[in-house]
């Protein structure tokens, strides 16, 4: 005879199996947390340095005979002046290098970014009054100098294997001793377009392109998706065509995104003759891709509205349209918003279809309209990730951080809006 207090030896084994099973589950969850942690630390540690950029401060003599020999202060003259010469003079004077010593001169010039002359030009255009004066100007340092100061270039490596010479290192040390080297917030990262030099490359064109595309998706996919969902949920008769549409919507939600890119290439670019690389085309492709997500979310939201509310509206003599637009749709707003923003975040990070329609392009000037060539944030990440220069590696990380920040802001917005619109019934 056994009573409930006797523990059979068999039970011990079963208890252990139970414990083990739980442990597996917990391990899986810990694995997920680890994955999140590793991913984020890896990306942040790679990218955070790019938000600061090294500058070298030099006393520059804005020599009127070089910039504006006639003294007209005409903008065209100012734009065309040889600012490179100003940079050169300032640097050589500071480091006391003879202009005839060509190799040393070149090495010294390599300390500064190629954009140093345009920086001077922009200063003059903004304030022509400084012509003829000498002023301390903070100029963008070259990629290699930046790397030395951020510790990415190892000083202990033999000179021959290093991208920066001992002499250049000595100069850098001299500059830092004088307090002439500063690390400032990297505004160029957010204001510049594409560049072959990492230190002058920025995300502005990509951010603008992504913004235009999101706008297109919001203007096209959201109304179309909601309209389609209303029809399917409230009007469509139960027949084969409706079934077919449903299968289509569900399948499209799972079609690989690259296939949408092929569609965009064949139809929008080759068929309708829309310009390659334009954010309009990207937006259209992303709209088609996002549409199923919005349709499915809106249908679910409409479907979860209690039928009693719908009947109440019909009962007082509202037409079906009035019932939907006055009652059902406003109540479905939280669900629709959530689905839409999930779709938008996915569209924001989508890369493959944009590769197909030629958004991989070297674009320096920000697009003025949705018909002009642009890139997108994820495309910029792709392009920088596949570039060889060291400076692009940290910028890829930075671009990734920016992209993730945008998606988090959008997600947070979704949560806020959902809370705000949430109603009980």
């Amino acid at each position: 005879m056994s009573d409930i207090n006797t523990i059979s030896p068999h039970l011990k084994k079963r208890r252990r199996a139970e414990w083990l099973f739980r442990a597996y589950g917990l391990a899986a969850i810990i694995f997920c947390f680890l994955a999140v942690a590793v991913l984020f630390t890896s990306i942040i540690s790679k990218g955070y340095t790019a938000f600061r950029q090294t500058h070298i401060t030099l006393p520059v003599n804005f020599d009127a005979s070089i910039i504006d020999p006639d003294g007209t202060k005409n903008v065209d003259t100012l734009m065309a002046a040889d600012y490179q010469q100003l940079v050169k003079k300032a640097l050589l004077d500071k480091l006391q290098i003879k202009p005839e010593d060509k190799p040393t001169r070149k090495r010294a010039m390599d300390l500064l970014s190629h954009s140093a002359d345009t920086e001077l030009r922009d200063l003059i255009i903004a304030n022509p009054a400084i012509i003829g004066k000498t002023q301390d100007v903070s100029l963008t340092a070259s990629d290699n100098v930046d790397a030395v100061l951020k510790g990415t270039i190892d000083r202990t490596v033999p000179e021959a294997d290093r991208q920066i010479s001992d002499q250049q290192l000595a100069w850098i040390d001299q500059f830092s001793k004088d307090g002439k080297i500063t690390k400032d917030f990297n505004t160029k990262l957010f204001t510049a377009g594409a560049s072959s030099q990492p230190e002058t490359a920025g995300l502005w064109v990509a951010i603008l392109g992504s913004f235009y595309m999101m706008l297109t998706v919001i203007l096209i996919a959201v109304p179309l998706g909601i309209a389609a969902a209303i029809y399917l949920e409230e009007f469509a008769p139960k027949n084969r065509i409706t079934d077919f549409i449903e299968v289509n919507v569900n399948n499209l939600a799972a079609v690989p995104s690259i296939v949408f890119g092929l569609l965009g290439l064949a139809i929008f670019i080759n068929g309708f003759g829309l310009p390659r690389s334009a954010s309009l085309v990207g937006g259209l492709v992303l709209s088609l891709m996002t549409l199923p997500t919005i349709i499915i979310a809106t249908r679910a939201a409409l479907g979860s509205i209690p039928p009693s509310i719908k009947e109440a509206a019909l009962g007082v003599g509202a037409s079906k349209m009035q019932m939907i637009f006055h009652h059902a749709l406003p109540l479905a707003v939280p669900g629709i918003l959530t689905g839409t923003i999930i779709g938008l975040v996915r569209a924001l990070g989508e890369t493959a279809p944009l590769l197909m329609i030629g958004m991989v392009a070297f674009i320096v000037d920000p697009p003025k309209s949705i018909l002009e060539p642009a890139t997108a944030l994820p495309i910029q990440i792709y392009m920088w990730a596949t570039s060889a220069e060291r400076g692009f590696s940290e910028r890829t990380g930075a671009a990734t951080i920016v992209l993730l920040l945008f998606s988090f802001v959008m997600n947070a917005g979704a949560i806020y809006l959902r809370r705000k619109f949430e109603r009980r019934w």
Partner: protein
């Protein structure tokens, strides 16, 4: 009594109505005359078709895709299924109150104002406010909510919610009010208030009420129709039905043998 009701012209006249849900034959060859300014009760066991027939009087069945119907329903002598009838207009003449109180998740004011608004009944804001207040008064809810017309309709108690739904229905000036078991979700005290209200409203409206409770039918109605398995078994003066039913099925039901 019978004589008096028969003399007044019937408000609603159904002739040879058949309703099908897909394969199911829910209402069989039903013909009935429903008088104005009186309460008619539909009683019968669950699934006997009384709600289905009620919903065919304001064409709420149109919203169910699988539902078909034949026969005629006349409102004031005009067929409500005629092709030129606008179902939305019809529902402003035949209001409905549902089983579960279903106020819109909006303010009390908006709940009542919605109907007049979509039918364009009010010329201006004061007009609309007057209509809302009048309807709430007729539904004897005004005194309880007059200080919080902007509070949510869903915050009221169950009985108040149902009276709000009645106010909402009468705000569009219907001639007929259909009530589908309006008290089944309410407690006895709230039920008593609604029944009182129904009694007052019958002076101005033709009211049809579907109910599970025979006592309620006996209390509020002048006429009673007994439904069984999709057919109208017996229809007549409420007193007669409850005291001397002609059909055996009616007798079995009111004496509690089934249902």
């Amino acid at each position: 009594m019978d004589q008096k009701l028969a003399n007044s012209m019937p408000r609603i006249l159904a002739h040879d109505v058949n309703i099908y849900y897909g394969e199911k034959h829910a209402i069989k060859n039903l013909s009935v005359e429903i008088p104005d300014r009186a309460v008619s009760a539909f009683i019968g066991p669950s699934g006997c078709g009384k709600s289905t027939f009620l919903r065919s009087i304001n064409r709420m069945n149109d919203t169910i895709a699988s539902c078909r119907m034949t026969g005629e329903v006349l409102l004031d002598g005009k067929s409500i299924y005629a092709p030129d009838v606008d179902v939305v207009q019809l529902r402003s003449h035949v209001g409905m109150v549902f089983q579960k109180p279903n106020p819109f998740p909006k303010s009390i004011f908006e709940n009542v104002a919605y109907g007049p608004r979509i039918h364009g009944l009010a010329k201006n804001k004061t007009d609309l406010e007057e209509m809302v207040v009048n309807s709430l008064k007729k539904a004897s809810l005004f005194e309880e909510v007059k200080d919080r017309l902007n509070a949510s309709g869903t915050g009221l108690s169950g009985g108040q919610q149902q009276r709000l739904c009645i106010a909402r229905a009468i705000a569009v000036n219907p001639e007929v009010i259909l009530m589908d078991e309006p008290c089944s979700a309410l407690d006895p005290i709230a039920t008593a208030r609604i029944e009182e209200l129904i009694d007052e409203l019958k002076q101005n409206y033709c009211i049809i009420i579907v109910t599970h409770s025979m006592q309620q039918a006996a209390r509020v109605s002048q006429r009673t129709a007994f439904f069984h398995l999709g057919t109208l078994v017996e229809y007549g003066e409420t007193n007669d039905i409850f005291t001397s039913p002609k059909d055996k099925r009616t007798q079995d039901y009111i004496t509690g043998r089934f249902g």
